[in-house]
Symmetry: D2
Subunit: 385 residues, 4 copies
């Protein structure tokens, strides 16, 4: 079996000290499918160059401006195959647009965009250009999440009746982050850079994606309350949502960045007519399955037999994998899709779990509806078709 070549990867954003840029780079490297060869690591030229040196990049391929990068790389015979976009939210859509238009595949941090219109346009463009568009809803890269999704799809828990998803964090409750200064200066509280919402888009969107990813259903109506606990805060830091699904199922979603003492507490529970599933992001190597009236079973990565999970795993059961491996999985999926796309082949089946631009649009519809419901005093709102 011949091994496919390493893809040439570019990166926009992710200069020194940017947490998520470093995560993307480890993820790209982990399965040896990519080589980072070009970047626009910062809009500040000096910082971009210094960061590029720290990554041992060819200075000629370190760009201060992403439009230059798209143009120059598209023109090179050894130009990048794909770009990773890891900038503040408001730049995602324009950047992705530029690279798609240059014929370059895109791996984009979520949220897809800061407005639904922008997101819809981007989805059209991606489809039109036939390029791969991965959206890093990282929690979809966990093997046990994939197994849960496969179990629901195979009818193993029966018809879904209830969805309970929550995503509490505590970082905005830190005294330092409660200050007036912080609220004024941090881009997470700046509507121009973060977009029109805070916690909702930061982590509520992850919770919403995970619930849909595993349950295989999106709600058709939601009701929301957005709230900001912190004085001087312009964007929400706390989100409560109720969900109604077409089949009569019900659900609740809660995300908060003010949940004292919580680290990264994403948790999903899906209750079907036959069994229930429970997954906690902080213990990602296990998935709990409880049949109606029966005993909870702790399914573990590597031990439970599952094509979906096996394709997303690297080491045997009992050897924990984590967040970086989940992230790497999205990169690995994207690589397989890019090779297939470039060879005009069908999308490989085991990469169907890769979140893409359509997931991004679905998330924006949810955020729009949640904001609208909140504006109307928590009325039930139908999600856009």
């Amino acid at each position: 079996m011949s091994v496919p070549r390493r893809l040439r990867l570019g990166m926009v954003g992710g200069g020194d000290g940017a947490f998520i840029g470093s995560v993307h780079r480890i993820a790209a490297r982990l399965d040896d499918c990519y080589e980072l060869v070009a970047a626009s690591l910062s809009s500040n030229a000096e910082r971009a160059a210094a960061s590029a040196a720290g990554l041992r990049l060819d200075p000629a391929r370190s760009y201060a401006e992403y439009r230059d990068m798209a143009r120059a790389e598209a023109a090179r015979p050894d130009g990048i195959d794909a770009v990773a976009i890891v900038t503040p939210n408001y730049l995602h859509a324009p950047m992705a647009t530029a690279f798609l238009e240059a014929g370059i595949h895109v791996i984009c941090d979520k949220p897809l965009a800061i407005s639904l219109a922008e997101g819809v346009a981007l989805a059209s463009l991606a489809r039109e250009r036939g390029k791969v568009f991965a959206l890093t809803h990282v929690y979809a890269g966990y093997p046990m999440v994939r197994h849960a999704r496969a179990m629901v799809a195979a009818g193993e828990i029966g018809e879904v009746r209830l969805v309970q998803v929550e995503y509490p964090q505590d970082w905005l409750a830190e005294p330092a982050n409660q200050s007036e200064e912080y609220q004024r200066d941090n881009w997470h509280n700046d509507p121009l850079r973060a977009g029109p919402n805070g916690c909702l888009g930061d982590i509520g969107s992850h919770a919403y994606h995970l619930a849909g990813y595993v349950s295989g259903m999106l709600p058709n109506e939601i009701l929301a309350e957005l709230h900001a606990f912190t004085p001087g805060r312009r964007l929400d830091d706390h989100v409560q949502v109720m969900l109604r699904y077409a089949n009569g199922a019900r659900g609740m979603l809660w995300s908060s960045q003010m949940a004292t003492g919580c680290e990264n507490g994403l948790r999903l529970r899906v209750y079907g007519t036959k069994a229930a599933l429970s997954f906690e992001q902080e213990n990602p190597n296990e998935l709990w399955l409880t049949p109606q009236g029966g005993s909870a079973q702790r399914l573990t990565r590597g031990r439970v037999r599952s094509a979906a999970a096996d394709a997303a795993t690297r080491v045997p059961s009992g050897h924990p994998e984590g967040y970086l491996e989940a992230f790497a999985q999205l990169y690995r999926d994207a690589a397989a899709r890019i090779h297939a796309s470039d060879a005009a082949q069908a999308v490989p089946e085991l990469t169907l779990g890769m979140p893409d631009v359509d997931d991004g649009v679905a998330g924006l519809k949810f955020m729009d509806a949640a904001m609208e419901s909140n504006r109307q005093g928590s009325r039930w709102i139908r999600l856009a078709e």
Copy 2:
């Protein structure tokens, strides 16, 4: 130190096979504060007599009719000091009324009544007659719940910002309980006997009580969706509520009897500005305390120093106590109050944690508001003063 006499206890309801009657009897016996001497165990005279024999009761003090029992016992020099009411919901208020009017202290299963008006009248009567009225919101009897309440009251978690409470069970999702027959015949689905709601009153009321008990706050506005998943069901089997508190705090309450695979999953999380608390009823000997930004601590019954918890415990740390001990605690509290009341003394401080008729009224206000919100399509509703 002289030991107070055993109180003479009567019981209404709780004949052979009634789960909760047996629980009340064990609870009354456990701390040796009561002696069961009279009962009206069933409205069916034969069944009442047989059940009484099974409990080794004097046949002369086994009554077929609770009004007779109230009258006869009140007239005896050795008549009962207190009555335990463990019948279907619709009988709680009329029975409690009869015994209070006969000058007998009352220990009543929840809910207090099937309408707010009825409950308010009962509260007035109890106050007027100066009798002890214990309402068995049993989860308030757990030592670690009492410790949580004491910590919040002492400001140890700061100001409360978030309350998350849930109470999922799966018993109505059992195939046998999904049948048409079951829905027709079981009193839990009969508005005449259960009252105007199902899951809301059965367990939602426990969740609401626990949240208020620990947080020390009741919401001033709520928004609810009640739902029945089962065809042919007349009462709700699933409840979702959002909560707003006067101090700006937010909350969510979820209770369901359709939550596949859940046994008795009452869980409360309270997030304050300084720390968070988490309690799960199925592991009642522990309480989790997590300071903002810090490490979770597993506080354990018997090990954590706490007057409130110590007064509600019997065996050292590491020797688990459970549901029956929590129930017994309410009986023990009630006994201490009854002795004090009969001696015209003040309410003993360590019994202040005993849920009473006012908790019952607060619960009925919550249920009323939840039903009203649901009728209006999940609008925010102010709770009655």
Copy 3:
């Protein structure tokens, strides 16, 4: 169905402030099978009388001397049916002897005796007199322990290959209990009252019993190291044992009263050729079953179907039972046996799980062998037949 009369119970030991006496009394009361009517609560006459008053006992049936009590109660037409012995270890055997000789059934705290010879004699006497002799190895009263035992007996885990049992506590590591004074004055460190060992008999014997109770096997060879960490300590406070079984199985037993931070950490794991079981005393409502190569299952009391567990349970799944209920179970078993014995009927099958005098003898053989192995520098020692 007619209900058996309450048995008349006497108690020796257990005066004011004695933890275990109070536990026995609650246990006796919980299932309403006994009535405490006579006692010798202390060898100090004044303290005995005061304690008796605190328990509302008839002063005429409060005895200062246990031999008087045995004689007087045996002579009364309404004399006690059974006696609970809850004194320091060295008194167990002489007291049990006196009551057996008076024709009174015995419920005795463990250890059975302070020497194997004494224990063997007691077992002969009990057999000869045909009296019920319950030994309160309380952990055998937990429903999930009974279920584990039944599973092993039914071959559900295959042949047992490994037994791992441990029982760490931390109370002797408390600074106050590390003092010279404590070591001098506390009866747990006095060979005359505690017997020739410390931790070994206190809790090692519980661990050994539990392992045999569930696995259905006793070792035929053991190797031990006993140790005392505390200066001035005359008895062991730390025990390490290796076990070999006739079928080739291996095992380890560890008990310590110096295990910093441990409350009452009795834990048993049994590995068979088909599956493994794991039980932790601090979470007694669950039992973990893991098939070879498969997923762990959390079996819960009330939910797992099991005659053995059901007979030892009172409330439904999700409503935790604890230590007092386990203790009560031994009393309930003993009551059923006593009624059967007095009626010359066979031992009721569901009481076969009650630990008795033979368990006590087996425990003494283990302790003897462990002390002998230790004396010989941790040599393998065959257990006495």
Copy 4:
């Protein structure tokens, strides 16, 4: 700050399908400190070449024979800086010797060698040549293990009194691995390739290393029983050891490959005079700290402040890291040491936690003593100086 160049890495062993080879490659890649440029992936030339192609290696640098590789690479100006040795046990020492003699740094899978003499010689050689020698006791790469080690070293748990370590797996209990054929053909049961022991060296050595790594102490006397459950098995599959330390501390070590249902259950508990620590490899992002008499605290990676842990971590708290990151940490440590060594600088302080050739020798002394104790019928044996 200038970034050090990527080190050129060679690999011996780890051809297609070899689990541990793939792990080493991911580990080497994860932090971008190495580039794999040469290999002898199999002693079978064809398989070596095919595996090399699968890794996109230059065919000219794929070797069939490790001695050729050592010689050729040492001669190249762009020859490898370090070699990873991932072959069956009996080859570790001769291979490491060859590369050290060629002046190449070594990263070697454990065990160091198959005899103590061989290991001691290797340690001398490494010291003499002044080369970095990393031994992949991977569990020492976990941040919370490093934090535990740092806490003990800083006296935060007081003086260590007890060490309990266990490492159960179930893979040899798999029916397929119980067959005669398997026992005959698998190298893990071949003394010529695996060395003179089985479970003891495979995983017992990891358990022993972890206990010493965290506690900061090695025992001076041990007592062991080795056992093989499987008919036809030539090497042990089950190990039980007791430990005595110079300061009077006691300990137990248990490792088994016959522990039904266990995945990779390495667990360490260390009890000091002030507090206890507990770590489970399957949940490596947390470490439990329990003060004497107090409440257990769940310390988490990224949240607990610790230079040792921080230096071994990549993503924030709540974003789980796992086995591959722990492995990568050893590679990262080795890289820092290699750069320092090549620049004739001191060993960087934060790499002091990297297990090296001396850890390998200590492990071999333990294995020797355990085999000797077992031969003598489980006598106490002093460890070699």
